[in-house]
């Protein structure tokens, strides 16, 4: 460049240095201003006005309460006064066990559709008008005085002795009659036992003592009660104590149930044929083999005579050889064999005969005398009776009933249609409902005075094995509601029942001393309970001894009553055999079974989103139900999944989507009960078909099985919300579930865990010198009940996605139970079409359950691919997922071989308010309805982040509990290098009724999980791709040794 030549052009760089500096200085100042303006929103800290002393150590920590809900003893975890988790009571000695309904009770408590306070419903004519407890109370009490025996209290089954006592006292004083109605509990067993032995009450089988269990349509895993699932699991692993052996379970049933899916051998017998088959077995034992006390009993032999195996084999579809073989197996296990019925099939017209046949078999096998039954010792409390309801309906129609109080019953929805209860209600001059919302029955009442949730009020319960528990409130009532017991005591006092007025006086608040109330809880029920419990504990009310004993009951949750009386003699009353003679014939064509929905049961909790979203363990359908059909019939009718079919039972018709139900008997179809609520709230209203309409009342029993039906294909298809992809697994190609048979296992303990080995790793392993968390899941103990999934959902703030969400494939469950039908190797391998479920596989399905959750792989494929550092491994072996760092590439989920990662497709944590966008996308509205309406947020666990839209989430091994254990160790000055067993119990393990899940520090010396991981049965999935999971699955062993 020549400096002498001046340029006509300005300097092309445009900005000189000084100008640039000036500019950036300004910008820096602007940046500082901007960042000062970026202060996070100001938050407040609201302390107590006056902190209760009991909370001084409890801020920011969970508090636990033993209580009982719907007859289930539970441990409720609360935070800052809100229940956030319902877990099985760890100290429960009653063996009652829980159902998913107990676990999901939180959703009922925080149900936004519950009534907020008493209202005048005016029989559904026009809008409701707010009312008050005093108005309702005075109305009822004034009418009670006049009505005499025209006053009826209609309740569900009563599980509380105190409630029963208060009803009895009120009845005795006023003439109020009490009718209890339970829509789905089959009473055939009690009836048959009553007829056979002269005293009712079915004894409790001891599955932990039986070597052979024969199920006659038994459903002890579908309707878990009295801890049968726990007892059953104790004998289901091949490692048994000295002298014991793994039990064998043979099931005969028409519909593949959860119970039948756990059987070692399963025969398809339709419901109406179960009684003849059972009788044929009894015939073979008693008449042919002359086994047991009945052998030689002429009456018994005569009654069984028509049931020779050859005759029954013709009608039942089970061959004579099979029947004989089965009978031989039973005879060989005599004294160690149990025969169980009591499933949905017992709701058929032949149900009592079926139950009687089971009794005969048990008698012949010496099951009673060998101690395989515990005698029932629970206090006899009013349970449901269809006969009483039928009588009541008649009286209502004839106008004899002048006052009806409904409490915890919804007969308009669930009573047999022939009773015409809606019309009957219209003829009762005054109806008050104490249900918790304007449901089908309440809508036809004059007043609705909403009852509190059991978590809000005092009561008690009688549990099996002579145990009594107190139901203590764990939260103040959220709305203007009252406990049923409170209401009854108050009404009793107003009606002049002796003693009640004194309780009211005692409970009245002392004026002007709000801060120093001497009585901690002014609840009437509390006073009533204590009076009753003083008598039960045989202690002076108000004495120090009583207070101490009472506090101990509240602390431990239960009190062991006097030892059960000696078992009564089990000798057969010959008159009972008449039941066999009058056995009704099987329907010629198709027969229908109506079974209680596995989660929703009778539909009482029909607005519970967790229960709706809970996929049926067998059908894997959530949010609704379907007509289960045999695969062959389904194929013959050329149906597609969800095609609408009309079920015509003669007296009623129901349209339901069709489902190809594996293992279904060809001549049987089934529909779940408990769906199709029309008035329960915005969550469950209108979900699924209402099958209660198909029930038939006959002989005082609502028949729910072996109903003759016709099917007609009607136009339309209703997509079913399947929580699972393919049903079938070809284990030869995909060794993902370790399964073997007992005989194989005895030859080779590692059998069933064979899989392709992984290649060598290019890299050295990372060291894990301290604690390393791991889990072991024993598939022999897991029965697929799914309680772990609800426990997980509650603990970890997992949202619900609704029917559309499931159909869209946006389920959020961190833990799921995969259900497969095993397609065993046949001439080489299955081809690609195996995934459609060929008839060979699904007609006689071998069902496998596999709980699936994040495997916390040592070489986690998800971690490598996240560019944002949102997921990586912790030093104690956890696969961490950091929500606040996650930006949502979903790459990790794609690269997860187990597909356990869940993406927040929507904003589940808070409602998105924009009318335009809600109109554009109705799913946004539904999500808000399901997840974010007040007070639903109260259920959230504050220890777990509520995830926002657009982030990935997954099982964390309940890291919040791990962290709490670490913090506790620090506080207490203990070592944090290793943790003993039980220091950390994740929610799934806590909820598991069978002990199938074990969690702990695999590096801790002598830890249980380390021993299980080293077991020959242990298998870590997908060795071939070297991901090295932290979860060991223990082989499911099928007992093939007849």
């Amino acid at each position: 460049m020549n400096p002498n030549e001046t340029s006509a052009q300005p300097d092309a760089s445009g900005l000189d240095r000084r100008e640039f500096l000036r500019l950036s200085g300004t910008l820096a100042a602007a940046g500082a201003l901007a960042s000062a303006g970026c202060q996070p929103p100001q938050e407040q800290t609201i302390p107590f006005h006056d902190m209760p002393e009991s909370l001084v150590d409890g801020m920011g920590r969970a508090r636990f309460f033993h209580t009982v809900i719907d007859g289930g003893p539970v441990l409720v975890r609360t935070r800052e006064g809100r229940p956030i988790l319902v877990a099985p009571s760890p100290t429960d000695a009653s063996g009652r066990g829980l159902t998913v309904r107990h676990q999901a009770a939180l959703m009922d408590l925080y149900d936004p559709d519950r009534a907020k306070g008493p209202v005048s419903v005016r029989r559904g004519k026009g809008p409701t008008v707010a009312s008050s407890w005093s108005v309702v109370g005075s109305e009822v009490v004034s009418r009670l005085a006049k009505a005499g025996s025209g006053a009826v209290l209609l309740t569900g089954p009563v599980a509380s002795p105190s409630l029963a006592a208060s009803i009895a006292a009120l009845s005795a004083h006023t003439g109020l009659r009490h009718v209890a109605w339970s829509p789905v509990e089959p009473d055939a067993a009690a009836g048959a036992c009553g007829q056979a032995f002269g005293h009712s009450g079915a004894p409790r089988p001891r599955l932990d003592k039986a070597d052979l269990v024969l199920g006659l349509g038994a459903e002890f895993l579908d309707r878990p009660a009295d801890g049968l699932e726990r007892d059953f699991a104790l004998r289901r692993s091949p490692e048994q104590a000295e002298g014991a052996k793994m039990s064998r379970f043979v099931q005969l049933e028409g519909r593949l149930t959860l119970t039948g899916a756990n059987a070692d051998k399963r025969f398809r017998v339709r419901d109406s044929q179960l009684a003849p088959v059972a009788c044929a077995l009894a015939h073979e034992l008693v008449v042919v083999k002359k086994t047991g006390p009945l052998a030689g009993n002429a009456q018994a032999e005569a009654a069984l005579a028509p049931f020779a195996v050859d005759a029954v084999a013709k009608t039942s579809g089970v061959s004579a050889e099979q029947l004989k073989g089965l009978a031989g197996e039973l005879a060989a296990a005599r004294g160690k064999a149990l025969v169980l019925a009591g499933g949905s099939a017992s709701g058929s017209a032949a149900g009592e005969a079926l139950e009687l046949a089971a009794v005969l078999l048990n008698l012949s096998l010496d099951s009673y005398s060998a101690g395989l039954f515990d005698e029932a010792s629970a206090e006899q409390l009013p349970s449901g009776s269809a006969k009483a309801l039928e009588a009541l309906a008649g009286e209502m129609h004839s106008g004899k009933v002048t006052l009806l109080v409904v409490a915890g019953a919804n007969p308009v929805y669930d009573a047999p249609a022939s009773l015409k209860l809606a019309e009957a209600l219209a003829k009762v001059p005054f109806v008050v409902s104490l249900n918790d919302r304007i449901d089908e029955t309440s809508a036809r009442a004059d007043f609705l005075a909403p009852a509190s949730h059991p978590f809000e009020c005092w009561s008690d319960a009688a549990l099996p094995r002579g145990i009594f528990a107190v139901q203590q409130p764990v939260i103040q009532p959220l709305n203007d509601t009252r406990g049923l017991l409170d209401v009854l005591v108050e009404w009793s006092a107003a009606a002049g029942v002796p003693g009640a007025a004194a309780l009211v006086a005692a409970a009245a608040p002392v004026p002007g001393a709000a801060a120093a109330q001497p009585v901690p809880n002014p609840s009437l029920a509390w006073h009533f309970l204590r009076a009753g419990w003083a008598a039960r504990l045989a202690l002076e009310p108000g004495s120090a001894a009583f207070e101490a004993a009472w506090n101990e009951v509240l602390r431990s949750g239960a009190w062991q009553g006097p030892a059960p009386a000696a078992p009564p003699a089990r000798t057969l009353a010959p008159a009972a055999l008449a039941l066999l003679a009058s056995l009704p014939a099987s329907p010629a064509g198709l027969e229908l079974q109506l079974y209680p929905h596995l989660a929703l049961h009778d539909g009482q909790h029909g607005n519970n989103a967790w229960l709706h979203e809970f996929p049926d363990p067998i059908t894997r359908i959530s949010w609704g139900g379907a007509l289960s059909m045999a695969p062959r019939r389904f194929d013959e009718m050329k149906l597609a999944s969800g095609d609408l079919v009309e079920v015509d039972a003669g007296h009623a018709k129901v349209v339901a989507p069709a489902y190809r139900h594996a293992g279904m008997h060809y001549d049987q179809v089934a529909l779940p009960l408990g769906l199709g609520r029309t008035a329960c709230g915005d969550i469950g209203g209108g979900v699924g078909p209402n099958a209660f309409a198909l029930r038939l009342l006959a002989g005082g029993r609502p028949l729910s099985a072996a109903l003759p039906v016709k099917l007609t294909r009607v136009s339309g298809n209703e997509a079913l919300a399947f929580a699972q992809g393919s049903d079938v697994i070809d284990r030869e190609a995909r060794p993902l579930v370790p399964v073997t048979t007992l005989s194989e296992y005895e030859k080779n303990q590692k059998s069933g865990t064979e899989q392709q080995a992984g290649g060598p790793s290019a890299w050295p392993e990372h060291p894990y010198p301290n604690a390393r968390w791991a889990m072991a899941i024993d598939l022999s103990k897991c029965n697929g009940c799914g309680k772990c999934t609800i426990g997980c959902q509650a603990e970890n703030n997992v949202p619900v996605v609704g029917r559309r969400g499931i159909i869209d494939g946006r389920e959020m469950s961190w833990m799921r139970i995969d259900r497969y039908y095993d397609a065993p190797k046949k001439d080489g391998r299955w081809d690609a079409d195996v995934w459609d479920g060929p008839l060979e596989v699904v007609e006689e399905p071998q069902t496998l359950f596999e709980p699936m959750l994040c495997q916390h792989c040592e070489n986690a494929p998800c971690e490598t691919v996240c560019p944002f550092v949102a997921t990586m491994h912790s030093t104690d072996g956890l696969n961490q997922q950091i929500y606040n760092r996650c930006v949502g590439t979903r790459y990790c989920a794609n690269n997860c071989p187990f597909k356990v990662r869940r993406f927040n497709f929507w904003e589940y944590g808070k409602a998105q308010e924009s009318a335009l966008f809600r109109a554009l996308e109705p799913r946004i509205k539904r999500n808000a309805e399901l997840n974010t309406r007040a007070p639903m947020q109260m259920k959230n666990n504050p220890e777990v982040t509520v995830r926002s839209r657009g982030v990935m989430e997954k099982c964390s091994f309940c890291v919040q509990r791990i962290q709490e254990a670490k913090a506790a160790a620090t506080r207490e000055g203990k070592s944090k290098v290793h943790f003993p067993d039980g220091a950390v119990v994740p929610a799934c393990m806590e909820a598991c009724p069978t002990g199938a899940i074990t969690f702990g520090d695999v590096n801790a010396p002598g830890s249980k999980v380390a021993a299980l991981a080293a077991s020959p049965r242990a298998m870590k999935l997908l060795e071939a791709i070297n991901v090295k999971p932290s979860i060991s699955y223990l082989t499911k062993v099928r007992n093939d040794k007849a």
Partner: protein, 183 residues
């Protein structure tokens, strides 16, 4: 940035071959501050004008090495030294993972740097040019223009004009921007 010269002589050719032939003659005549303005590059013009090979490739090499160093430095600092984390069981220094970014950074530095440097070099590593937009040359259309700047040591306006005419160039004219602007 570009040095400009307000004075010089311009003449154009209509075919690249003519320009090429002329260039050698200009070079041989000892002119230093001359240039050919052409609508497209002419093969062989560098030799004809007596220019050395462009030094841009060396810049590219240095920048490519810088890119490699930058990428390796950043990745190793982040993954190994600053906060080593366990991603899917891989070692902290999982070197195969660093190859793609190293390559990309190399290309990025080398390519963008070379392009930038070439543009700047075209402005700096040159002789004073006729002021753009003020002097029309037709070089972006179809003329192959010879420019001899007045800054040449042996500049003599009359001699230069005569020389250019002697090469067979058309439209030979002396340029004086000030005069043109005033006019």
């Amino acid at each position: 940035m570009t040095p400009t010269s307000n004075k010089g002589v311009l003449g154009h050719f209509c075919e690249p071959a003519d320009a090429l032939a002329a260039a050698a003659k200009v070079r041989d005549a000892g002119w230093k501050h001359f240039d050919f303005l052409t609508p497209f590059p002419i093969h062989g013009m560098e030799e004809a004008m007596g220019q050395k090979r462009s030094w841009i490739p060396w810049v590219t090499l240095v920048l490519a090495l810088c890119g490699i160093l930058f990428a390796q430095g950043l990745q190793n600092y982040v993954m190994v030294f600053d906060w080593p984390m366990n991603f899917g069981g891989k070692p902290h220094a999982a070197w195969p993972s660093y190859i793609p970014i190293t390559f990309e950074a190399m290309v990025f530095w080398a390519a963008l740097g070379s392009a930038l440097v070439a543009i700047v070099a075209g402005k700096i590593d040159t002789i004073p040019q006729p002021p753009p937009m003020l002097v029309k040359t037709g070089a972006t259309v179809d003329r192959f223009v010879l420019w001899i700047s007045a800054t040449d040591p042996k500049w003599n306006a009359a001699e230069a004009e005569a020389f250019v005419k002697s090469l067979g160039a058309h439209g030979v004219r002396l340029v004086d921007v000030k005069e043109e602007a005033d006019a």
